[in-house]
Symmetry: none
Subunit: 416 residues, 2 copies
C-alpha cells in the first residue's frame, strides 16, 4: 500500500501564530487521492536535525513530501540535507539559473548573488517548475521511494502540488477515485447543525462526514470511494437527506464561499450593489472584492467609521444619529437608504454595530449589530447579537449581511 | 539551552478535519515559558513507528512531551513504545488501579477489563493525576531528559500540563529565560534584506535569526538565551547593527504590525486619517480598523470601486477620469485631495490600481498602482509596479500606502 510521510521545514513553524498549514493541505489532498499519510514531522532550519528526521521516516513510506527550506538564504537547508541523506552531490542547473535570471530581469531587478543557490539541485533529480515564485521544486526517486521537495509558501506549494506532483502520483500509483460533496452553511451554530445531521450521516458507514466550523460558517464535507462498492450512490442519498433537513442554512452545495455565491446571484440578475459599513470597517467590501470580476456588480462601500462620514457621505440625518445613536435600527435603515439614494445601485446593505473590545454601553453590548437592506421598494433592518472577539464579530456581521443579500436575491424571506 | 520536542500520537490525526491542536497549544505555552520547541512529530497508533520517532528526537532536546495513546485500547501504544525505547519494563500501579476503580464506581459503572491497562506504568516513572478523565499522565527522567506522557484530549491534556508539567519545568529550568527582538520591515525584497543582514547575523553564533517574509512584509526575529552566557548582550549588539543597516526599511522593532504603528503615530499626533480606495476594495480600511480603538484616528474610507462613486463620493472631476483613466496619477491625486476636502481629516491616502487578473491594458499592466497622499499643504503621488496574484497585489498596495503614511507622520521623505 502506498503511504506518505510529510516533513515541514522552517524554524518559523515553531513560533506562536505560525502554523504548518502545508501539512493540513497535503493531508487532505492525499486523502482524496487515496494515499494515507502515516507521519508528519516539523523541523527547524537545521541540516543535522533534518537528516535525522529523514532517516527516521518509517520504512513503509514510499512518498516523502518536504515543504520549505528551498529559499535563497543560508538557512534554507532542505536540498543539502536530502542530498546528504541519499548520498548525492549538488550541481548547478543551467536551465534553473536561466529562469532565475529571467525572473529578475522581467522585474527589472538585479538578481542577488544568493539567489543562485536556488539553481543548485541534487544529481539525478528532476526540476519541478515554480509558476509563482523563484524556488523550483525537486523530484528524486531512490530505492522505490519518491522524494518531493516543494517550496514553503502555500501559494507556491499548492499549485506545484496540483500541476506536478498529482500527475506523478496518479501515474505511478493510479490514485483511487473519490466523490465529494461540500456543503457550506450559515445562520446555525455547529452543535445545532450536528444534532440535526448526525443521526442521518451516522447511518451511512461508507461515507466519511467531516465538519469544519467557525462562528458564522460551517462546512460539511462528505467523501466516499467511487468504486464498485456503491459509495457514490450512498453519498448521493446522504446528500439529498442532509439538503432536505438543512436546506434553510445551506448557501452552497459545492464549497463556494458566500461572497462568490452572492456575486454570482447579482451578476445573473444584472443588479448592482452598494454598501455602507461602520463596525466591519471595510471587511464587507474587502470580501466582496476578493472575487475577481466583482467590479461588474459591486459599486463600492462607504466605510463610515466616523459619524460625520455617515452624514456627509452616506446621507444619514443628524437627528437620527443624535436621537438613536450610531448603533441602532434607525441608523442602519438610514445608512442603507442613504447610500442607495446617492448611487445607481439596485440594492444596498448597511452594517452598524459594536465590534469591541471597547465601545459597549449598558444597553448596547459588544457584538450588537444592526444590518439594513434597501431593495426594490423595501427597507428592512435586522438586529443580531454575535459573540466572540473583534475579529469573530466582524466576520459574522459580514457573513450575515451577505446571507441576507442572498435571501433577498432569491426572493426568500429575510427572516423574522 | 533547554529545548523541547513534541510528539503527537494518534492515527485519527491524519484524517481530514482533525488537527494536532495539542502541539499548537504546547508550542505557544512553551514559548511563553522560554523553552523553544525544536521539533514536532505526528505519528499514528503504531508502536514501531513511535519508537523510530523517539529515537530520532534531536540529541539537544531535553524535554520531550508526548500526547495521546494513553487510552485503554489495544492501539494505545505510547507507554509501551517509551518503555521499549528507554529499556524499562511496565508494572501495574496499585494507586492508579484504585483510582480507576473509584472513578467507575462513582459513575455507578463497572470498569471494563481493558481499562486496567491504564494502571500500567513504566518502572521508575511518576504518575501525573488526571483531574478530568481516566488516563493518568506519566513523567520519566532519563539521562537528563524529561519525558512527559500526556493524554490526547485537549480538555484533559491542558489542565494536566498547567497543574503538573509547568511546575516541574519551572523548578528544573526556572532560571532560564529567552530574550527576543522582532523587527518588521517593508519596502525591500527578502533576498535583498538577507544579503544585507546575513553577513552581520552570521557573526553572532549565540543568537538565532529567523526570517519570515511575504511580499511587502519581512519579519526578522532574533532569539537568544538570557543567562550567564551573554546571549542577551549579543542580541542587543546584533539588534543595534541590524537597525543601523536596515533602518530605512524597519517600521517596527517589536513585531507590531504596520497598521498598529501608523495608528499609534496618528493617535500621538491627534491627527485624523481618511482614505479612498479602489483596487484594494476596502482592505486598507479593514486593516486599519483591525486595530481596536482605531475610531480615535480613522474617519473611514470610500471604497470607490465604480467610477461614479469616485466622482460622487470622493470628488474626482469627471474630466480627470475621462482624460487619464481611473488608474492614473491625476486620479490618485484627485482622490486624495477630494476625500480630504469632504471631511475634517488632517491627512488622506488614496489607492487606485489594477489588482488583476482582469483589467490590464497594454500600457497599464496588472500590478500597476498609484498611491496619493494629501497632508498639510502637500499633495504627493507615487507609482508602483507590484507582482503576484490579486491577493498579493492588494496586500502590497495597502502595505505601501501605510508605509508612505508612516514616513509622512515621521516627517521623512516619502521617497523618490
Amino acid at each position: 500500500m502506498v503511504k506518505a510521510h510529510l516533513i515541514a521545514v522552517g524554524s518559523e513553524l515553531f513560533l506562536p501564530g505560525h502554523e504548518d498549514s502545508n501539512s493540513v493541505f497535503l493531508r487532505h489532498r492525499l486523502f482524496e487521492l487515496g494515499i494515507p499519510v502515516t507521519g508528519v514531522s516539523v523541523v527547524g532550519d537545521d541540516e543535522t536535525a533534518l537528516v535525522r528526521v529523514l532517516e527516521a521516516v518509517p520504512r513503509g513510506a514510499n512518498v516523502i513530501i518536504l515543504t520549505g527550506g528551498l529559499g535563497p538564504t543560508e538557512d534554507d537547508v532542505t536540498k543539502k540535507a536530502v542530498a546528504r541523506c541519499l548520498h548525492k552531490s549538488l550541481r548547478y542547473d543551467d536551465k534553473v539559473q536561466a529562469q532565475l535570471e529571467q525572473f529578475f530581469a522581467s522585474r527589472k531587478r538585479k538578481m542577488p548573488e544568493n539567489n543562485l543557490r536556488q539553481a543548485l539541485i541534487p544529481v539525478g533529480s528532476r526540476v519541478l517548475d515554480n509558476a509563482v515564485g523563484t524556488a523550483p521544486g525537486i523530484l528524486l526517486e531512490e530505492r522505490g521511494c519518491l522524494y518531493f521537495l516543494l517550496p514553503g509558501p502555500p501559494r507556491e506549494m499548492e499549485p506545484m502540488f496540483e500541476a506536478q506532483v498529482v500527475p506523478v502520483l496518479r501515474q505511478k500509483y493510479g490514485a483511487r477515485r473519490i466523490v465529494q460533496r461540500h456543503f457550506r452553511l450559515t445562520g446555525i451554530p455547529e452543535s445545532a447543525a450536528d444534532q440535526i445531521a448526525a443521526p442521518i450521516y451516522r447511518r451511512y458507514a461508507d461515507v466519511t462526514t467531516t465538519i469544519l466550523s467557525k462562528p458564522g460558517d460551517i462546512q460539511l464535507i462528505l467523501t466516499a470511494a467511487d468504486d464498485a462498492g456503491g459509495g457514490a450512490a450512498s453519498l448521493e442519498r446522504l446528500s439529498g437527506e442532509l439538503a432536505r433537513v438543512l436546506q434553510e442554512y445551506i448557501y452552497s452545495p459545492d464549497g463556494e464561499p458566500l461572497e462568490a455565491v452572492v456575486g454570482r446571484l447579482l451578476a445573473e440578475r444584472r443588479m448592482r450593489l452598494v454598501a455602507a459599513e461602520s463596525c466591519t470597517g471595510g471587511l464587507l467590501a474587502k470580501r466582496i472584492t476578493d472575487v475577481p470580476g466583482s467590479s461588474a456588480y459591486f459599486l463600492g462601500s462607504v466605510v463610515c467609521y466616523d459619524n460625520a462620514l455617515k452624514q456627509e457621505l452616506a446621507g444619514v440625518p443628524a437627528e437620527i444619529l443624535d436621537r438613536h445613536g450610531a448603533v441602532s435600527s434607525p441608523t442602519a435603515s438610514a445608512l442603507a437608504a442613504g447610500i442607495r439614494r446617492r448611487t445607481v445601485a439596485d440594492l444596498s446593505v448597511a452594517i452598524t454595530g459594536i465590534a469591541g473590545p471597547g465601545g459597549a454601553t449598558p444597553d448596547k453590548p459588544v457584538g450588537l449589530v444592526y444590518i439594513g437592506l434597501s431593495y426594490a421598494d423595501k427597507l428592512a433592518v435586522k438586529k443580531f447579537q454575535f459573540y466572540g472577539d473583534r475579529e469573530r464579530i466582524r466576520f459574522q456581521a459580514t457573513q450575515m449581511a451577505m446571507e441576507l443579500l442572498r435571501r433577498v436575491l432569491l426572493a426568500r424571506p429575510v427572516g423574522d
